[in-house]
């Protein structure tokens, strides 16, 4: 991989990170500051009581629209939704195919 394509990949990765934070801000009604504080260990499904199955369904559908990916049924599990880091890693892997 040359430097230019490595740079493009890291640009795309930081864009994915920002988009995911924005979707979470919209779903959870949090300020930008609050979601900027999310770390890879920040707990999501199972940690935030307001994040019920309907909210998670909306979250995933919105992620699909904004990142232009399709999330299959069998990819949706507790592990992928457990933390911000896990969801971000999943989205990044999806985008890279």
């Amino acid at each position: 991989m040359n430097d230019a394509s490595a740079h493009e990949l890291s640009e795309a990765a930081s864009q994915t990170d920002a988009t995911l934070r924005q979707v979470l801000a919209d779903v959870l009604g949090l300020s930008q500051d609050r979601v900027d504080d999310f770390t890879t260990e920040t707990g999501l499904f199972g940690y935030l009581p307001e994040l019920d199955s309907m909210a998670v369904a909306g979250l995933l559908t919105e992620i699909e629209d904004r990142l232009d990916i399709v999330i299959d049924d069998d990819e949706v599990d507790g592990e992928m939704l457990e933390t911000f880091g896990a969801l971000l890693a999943f989205c990044k892997a999806k985008i890279q195919g």
Partner: protein
């Protein structure tokens, strides 16, 4: 004076309620809320938009479609065709000149000029509901796929997010097209994140102001 009343209107299935701001003005807007769970999440927002429309000199009407909100009609026996007819009956009763249909509400908009706000296609609406059911089932230790659930729903109806939907409604939602005659208002035009996405119902004054301004400007044009 508050300006609003809970009005009654004759749906083909019997009388239903509507929230009405009616001062017999020229511009009369039928407001159609999103369907199912999103209707609850956006109710506060819609009512605040209607207050602002009233202040801007626009009469507006938010009908309860049969089986929805305060309606006593059973949801399970409702069809999209029935909702279309009911929305048309509400439009006629209130003398609506325009329509503002939000999200899935655009699927039942009567043939009036107007707007669809962040319109949601039928398959996209079903996908979110089926996915919510799949996630809830998986959490409870039952494996269901959205494909299996949809096949079952098309045959026998299904309960999704607490809403008991009949097979005709499911099949109609999967087949219907969004009306092209309505002008699309994208969430980006209103600003911020869509309030139907919120895990907890919320209200945003800036968004209500922005949506009202778009409608008021459009009605003056």
């Amino acid at each position: 004076m508050n300006g609003w009343v809970i009005a009654s209107w004759p749906s083909p299935q019997g009388d239903e309620y509507a929230l009405a701001f009616d001062r017999s003005r020229t511009a009369r807007l039928l407001v159609l809320s999103p369907l199912f769970d999103e209707a609850n999440k956006t109710r506060h927002f819609i009512v605040e938009v209607m207050r602002r429309l009233d202040n801007a000199g626009i009469d507006c009407f938010l009908p309860d479609l049969p089986g929805c909100n305060e309606s006593l009609a059973p949801l399970e026996s409702q069809t999209l065709m029935g909702w279309l007819q009911a929305a048309a009956a509400a439009a006629k009763h209130f003398g609506a000149t325009h329509v503002l249909a939000m999200r899935g509400g655009a699927l039942v908009a009567p043939p009036l000029p107007g707007w669809r706000y962040a319109a949601q296609s039928g398959p996209s609406l079903m996908r979110a509901l089926l996915r919510a059911r799949m996630i809830a089932s998986r959490e409870a230790g039952t494996e269901e796929t959205t494909e299996q659930l949809l096949a079952m729903a098309r045959q026998n109806g299904i309960e999704l997010a607490g809403y008991r939907l009949g097979p005709t409604l499911i099949n109609e939602i999967m087949a219907v097209h969004l009306p092209d005659r309505l002008t699309e208002i994208a969430q980006a035009d209103v600003g911020g994140g869509g309030l139907w996405l919120r895990a907890e119902p919320a209200f945003d004054a800036a968004q209500a102001d922005a949506l009202t301004a778009i409608i008021a400007k459009g009605l003056q044009a």
